[in-house]
Amino acid sequence: MPLFATATATTAAAAPAAPRAALALRRLCAAALAVLAALALAAPAQAAPDPNAAPNDFVAQVADQALDVLKKDPQLRSGDIARVNQVVDQYVLPYVDFERTTRLAAGRYWRQATPQQQQALSQAFRGTLVRTYSGALANVDQGTSIRMLPFRGEVGDDVVVRSQIVPQANAQPVGVDYRMARTEQGWKIYDLNVEGIWLIQNYRNQFSQQINQNGIDGLIQALNQRNQ
């Protein structure tokens, strides 16, 4: 899921770009890895994160385990996509509601899709996100760390947990927020913010654009194509 984060940033075109955009982007990029570190993987070595814990504790547990796995697994760090997929399935999926992420990104079009299309779309979008991770994962090093910021407000059914991730030793910390909903299985992360940019919001226009031009199947196809 973190992956999205990366995305945020920049563009090839913006390249030499405006300073603020540039900086933001750079951090975003760094963030991606951070994120992924955070969300991505849970280490088998430790106790599994408790989805019914307080929101901050839950994210911290997931993040710590993730970092632990990342730092120990050279295959992940070299961006081995099969391995990344495996780890995501095993350690990330339980804590992330991909379907919700996809549903919100699709907005009003979600209801126009058949259940088969909905499932295919979630799968395809998930592929996009995982691909983003794999690039970011390679950058995690022993200096990567995460610090949870104090939880603000009241714990309702839809909460945001904030953190700062230091992507690599000596790198600028990156602000990463996790939005999650309380479900019957406990907390599930469904949206991610890196330096002010929400993942879902950043995909909404692209989704609606594709659907308008080529329909829902066209969107699924476009996502899958990029996943090749």
Binding site: T11, A13, R20, R108, Q201
Partner: protein, 259 residues
């Protein structure tokens, strides 16, 4: 990062890019209210992307390959450190006293203990960088973002941020506009552009890998990011409301529009 100067020289190119590609508005879509000049912007985006792939990206890759990492970090930190001074000034203008003091402190600490900004010792000690500029200041003062605008060479901006860029050019020491020696100034600009592009290599690869439409991906990220900067830390509790478009009364096949 401040290729700003090239702005002046870029005007002809801008016109050209607009003429060549500008009129191709996206098919069959209602224009996004935040981006009324999308056809034009896409033209400039394409132009920037072409220049980037032909020149900037290869040069940045070469730089990353050839220059040792500590040297690159030092260069990057020194430009950032100069930029902190202008960030601090803007935080002051925005009445964000806390950010102002922190950023000024970063500058002083890095300039002294960090050997002229070569080492970002402030970040290492937990003092996070708070980038700021005059476009944000205008926003905090109440000026709306205005239409989204892609500038030649400079990339994502808006009418408001474009005005801000002009002020940044004069006020930001990192823009080197105060350097009188032309050769030195041009060299610094060159280095700054390469440094900036190099720092964006990973990010641009990610956009290439994951965006369905890089143009709107970048635009939406830029607008979200700028809005968050204007809101500042107080606006952190503002969350996007995804439910609006969740209702089924919405007409089918209409592009959604967000504020």
């Amino acid at each position: 990062m401040k290729a700003r100067r090239s702005l002046a020289r870029a005007v002809p190119a801008l016109t050209l890019a607009a003429a060549v590609a500008g009129c191709a508005a996206p098919q069959g879509q209602q224009p996004d209210p935040r981006d009324p000049w999308e056809g034009f912007n896409r033209g400039v985006y394409k132009f920037n992307d072409t220049v980037d792939r032909a020149v900037l990206r290869p040069v940045a890759e070469l730089y990353t390959f050839a220059a040792p990492e500590p040297a690159r970090n030092c260069v990057h930190n020194m430009f950032s450190n100069l930029g902190d001074l202008w960030s601090a000034a803007n935080s002051f203008l925005q009445g964000r006293g806390h950010d102002f003091v922190n950023t000024l402190g970063r500058f002083l600490f890095n300039t002294t203990m960090g050997v002229g900004g070569c080492f970002d010792v402030a970040s290492a000690n937990g003092a996070r960088r708070i980038p700021n500029d005059f476009g944000v200041t205008l926003g905090v003062w109440g000026l709306g973002q205005g239409p989204y605008l892609v500038l030649p060479f400079l990339g994502s901006s808006s009418v408001r941020d474009g005005v801000g860029l002009g002020v940044d050019f004069v006020g930001d020491p990192a823009s080197m506009s105060q350097v009188d020696n032309v050769r030195l100034r041009n060299s610094l600009w060159g280095l700054e552009v390469v440094d900036t592009r190099a720092s964006l290599l990973e990010a641009s690869k990610t956009v290439d890998r994951t965006a369905l439409d890089p143009y709107s991906f970048v635009r939406d990220a830029y607008l979200q990011r700028r809005a968050a900067q204007v809101r500042g830390s107080k606006g952190q509790d503002e969350l996007p409301d995804y439910s609006i478009e969740d209702d089924d009364d919405a007409p089918p096949a209409q592009p959604q529009s967000k504020p």
